[in-house]
């Protein structure tokens, strides 16, 4: 594994691991977002065969969208973990207002040290977050630790081929820094394997990433139209943002960037 020159582990942790709830990331992605939306979340839960009574962990649970959907539509019993205390409070509030407090609990904690017991869960999901964890090996080991033998892990995440990623896409604002620490699918596969999680299925969801890039473009345009000063404060140079987005789109077309759904099983 190579730490990226423009974004070392500490920087990544600062800009990404505080979650999608900070500065430029939130500006571009909105308060809660992952590629593919609820449709891909359902696909993920279907693929890991989530069902009534299953004990499920949602790593980087954000404001609880995935956890609550799993509890409500699949009847799962969910523990969500997020590094942002504000998100945990929001998610807990949402669970309460839906009458789901008994089946969806949210904990303040780090993906690299999950505040949950060993071998107590049937499944772990983690949506669009592994790419933001500086220490992916430890995060994977933690997922494996909380799973019972035979338990499933389901991830959706950005993949990147670092050798083919244009240099312009590695040094800019935080959201790209997250992309810049994304790995090829083989590397995710071997990280999971190293943690004792055998990958059983990989699906490409390129359209979800394309949609994400269009959304970033739309939000940039919206902020330019309504509060251009804010972009400057955040260090976003609009004359560069357009070409960078075009470059990202080209990278997706060329298969350098992609979005995948990975399912694994604990041996």
């Amino acid at each position: 594994m190579t730490a990226h020159p423009a974004a070392d582990a500490a920087t990544l942790k600062a800009c990404c691991a505080t979650g999608y709830s900070s500065d430029v990331v939130a500006l571009l992605l909105g308060p809660s977002y992952h590629p593919g939306g609820l449709r891909l979340t359902r696909r993920l839960l279907d693929t890991i065969e989530a069902g009534p009574g299953d004990r499920l962990v949602d790593v980087a649970s954000g404001i609880g969208t995935t956890s609550l959907l799993a509890a409500q539509e699949y009847g799962a019993d969910v523990d969500g973990v997020d590094l942002s205390a504000a998100n945990v409070a929001l998610a807990s509030g949402a669970a309460q207002s839906l009458g789901l407090s008994g089946r969806a609990r949210f904990h303040h904690g780090d993906a690299e040290a999950l505040p949950l017991p060993d071998a107590a869960y049937d499944a772990v999901v983690c949506e669009c977050a592994l790419c933001t964890f500086p220490d992916k090996v430890t995060a994977a080991a933690e997922m494996a630790r909380v799973l019972r033998p035979g338990g499933r892990v389901g991830l959706t995440d950005i993949t990147a081929d670092p050798r083919r990623l244009p240099p312009e896409l590695t040094g800019i604002a935080a959201w790209v820094a997250c992309v810049a620490d994304a790995r090829p699918v083989e590397e995710y596969r071997s990280i999971l394997a190293g943690a004792g999680l055998r990958v059983t299925a990989v699906e490409r969801h390129t359209d979800a990433l394309e949609q994400l890039v269009r959304q970033v473009g739309a939000r940039l345009e919206l902020v330019r139209m309504t509060s251009p000063g804010r972009l400057e404060e955040l260090g976003i140079d609009l004359t560069r943002a357009g070409p960078v987005l075009a470059m990202v789109q080209a990278a997706i077309r060329d298969g350098v960037l992609d979005y995948v759904l990975l399912v694994g099983e604990k041996r």
């Binding site: 709830s21 900070s22 500065d23 430029v24 990331v25 939130a26 500006l27 909105g30 308060p31 809660s32 939306g37 609820l38 449709r39 359902r42 969208t65 609550l68 959907l69 409500q72 539509e73 504000a86 269009r214 959304q215 473009g217 739309a218 939000r219 345009e221 919206l222 902020v223 330019r224 139209m225 309504t226 509060s227 804010r230 404060e233 955040l234």
Partner: protein, 514 residues
């Protein structure tokens, strides 16, 4: 027993639905199949007396199938006006089996018009033997709408040409004195272009809580388009009408009838013109409805919603993709698609800004009623339902309120330091709507869609008849005959395969002599 040797074993189409339709000649209810062939959707049916008919109903089969998820459970109207006897579409209406309430009510105030367009689903024109409704009848119609809906969002005055009705302003006053929230005036713009006092009177009536929007026929910019669809070059008239509306503070929807081979190349220019003109806040595209009077057409190549969506995306690729549009879930989802934009400045400016709202939030997470048992935020769904509705007209209080609600959903004030609702202050002045609506005609009529229609013609005797049934099944002819005392022929589509059967009616449409 009749045996029949099969010519080819493999069928060349996917059988999607079995539904009901009508025979375009005798209007008898008959079974119909919906099939996918060559990536397009066709409706085929057979009348025992008049044979087989087939029409293209959606140009993009994938979009047709994908759209079905955007289908909202219906809401019953407060009151229905008929009983179920012969089954849809012969019992209008509304009958108790109708699946949806009325999002939009239409009051046709007359049959006369100051144009004689070659294309007119209402078969109107300079005709001495039509009818005009009285103020009392107008009140009856408003009362019927209010009885069915409680507080209707919007009524549309149409015709004929409603602006030539001597009492049209009083009729608008009647609507504004009722619980109906907003008024639309459907017009060719001729009176608006020449009568400033009339426009000023409309402007006076456009006030908070009682908005008046002008629904202006606007088919394109080529002389050939004007001559083929309207019979006259109306380009200057349209521009003067638009400018008068801007002066009077009236909002305008540009409404283009789009006919295959005539003006489909102009849809991008119409959107651009709308974005550039201060009065225009929305554009509506309607593939020509082959009801009433129209030029000869081939049902197998007729234009559909998906063709218009592709034309918009092809002609304005810098701004649009087809997936910026979402089906409207209150009616049948393939009937109408809408997008909203936030814009800033003039499209010719270098720093012109345009963002389709569906790129900012996951519309399908809210309006896909089949997949979503859980939605992220029910207030946002409610707002999107009101925006993606046949009752949505930009500039109305309801519409502005829902746009603000959506802006709040986009907020990231706590985290990124941009308070979007504040930044979008005045979002209602920067929002723009594009609607694409394909109405059913005697060829394309699908009872599955018709049963959920939420655009209703209000009849002078107080019935609410789904717009497409009114124009296709014979109700329009019945109402005209009843109101005018003059016999009215049953109108038949001017379709190529029917040519040997057809003769003209006195109004220019076609009939099959009995």
């Amino acid at each position: 027993m009749t045996t029949h040797e099969t010519a080819a074993r493999e069928r060349d189409e996917v059988f999607l639905e079995l539904t009901k339709s009508i025979c375009p000649v005798c209007k008898t209810t008959i079974d119909a199949e919906v099939n996918v062939r060559d990536d397009q959707v066709f409706l085929r049916k057979r009348c025992a007396e008049h044979g087989e008919f087939e029409a293209r109903v959606y140009g993009d089969a994938q979009m047709y199938v994908d759209a079905q998820r955007f289908n909202k459970p219906g809401t019953r109207p407060l009151q229905t006006q008929t009983v179920v006897k012969d089954g849809c579409p012969q019992d209008c209406g509304l009958c108790p089996e109708h699946k949806q309430h009325a999002c939009l009510g239409i009051i046709e105030v007359n049959t006369g018009c100051n144009l004689d367009c070659p294309i007119c689903f209402a078969d109107s024109g300079h005709q001495p033997d039509g009818y005009s409704i009285t103020l009392e009848q107008c009140q009856t119609m408003i009362d019927a709408f209010v009885a069915a809906e409680g507080e209707p969002e919007v009524v549309m005055f149409s015709g004929g040409e409603p602006t030539i009705h001597k009492q049209i302003l009083q009729m608008i006053d009647l609507a504004q004195a009722s619980p109906i929230k907003a008024v639309n005036l459907n017009t060719n713009g001729i009176r608006l272009a020449s009568d400033k006092r009339f426009v000023a009177e409309l402007g006076k009536r456009n006030r908070p809580g009682n908005k008046v929007n002008i629904y202006l026929q606007f088919d394109g910019f080529d002389v050939e388009t004007h001559k083929a669809i309207r019979g006259r070059d109306l380009r200057e008239v349209k521009q003067r009408a638009l400018d008068s509306c801007a002066e009077a503070g009236l909002t305008v929807t540009l409404v283009a009838a789009v006919e295959k081979g005539l003006n489909e190349h102009e849809v991008g220019a119409v959107v651009r013109h709308g974005l550039a003109h201060p009065a225009v806040r929305s554009v509506a595209f309607q593939p020509v409805t082959h009801s009433g009077r129209h030029v000869e057409f081939d049902p197998l190549t007729r234009l559909t919603n998906s063709d218009v969506l592709h034309a918009i995306a092809d002609q304005l690729p810098q701004w649009f993709r087809t997936d910026d549009f979402f089906p409207v879930p209150c009616c049948a989802p393939t009937c109408r698609s809408i997008t909203y934009l936030l814009t800033q400045g003039h499209p010719d400016d270098a720093d012109f800004g345009l963002v389709p709202i569906p790129r900012l939030l996951q519309v399908e997470d809210y309006l896909d009623y089949v997949s979503n048992r859980v939605v992220p935020d029910y207030e946002v769904r409610h707002a999107l339902e009101k925006l993606w509705s046949a009752s949505a007209f930009i500039g109305t209080e309801t519409n502005e309120q829902q746009l603000r609600q959506v802006a709040e959903a986009l907020d990231c004030a706590d985290s990124c330091g941009v308070n979007l609702p504040e930044a979008l202050h005045g979002i209602e002045d920067n929002a723009f709507m594009i609607v694409v609506q394909d109405f059913l005609d005697p060829y394309t009529l699908n009872v599955r869609q018709l049963m959920k229609c939420c655009v209703e013609e209000i009849t002078p005797d107080g019935r609410l008849i789904p717009f497409c049934a009114y124009n296709s099944v014979g109700y329009r002819e019945q109402v005209r005959a009843q109101m005018s005392g003059v016999e009215v022929a049953d109108v038949v589509p001017n379709a190529t395969p029917l040519q040997p059967l057809l003769t003209p009616t006195p109004y220019g449409s076609r009939q099959v002599p009995r």
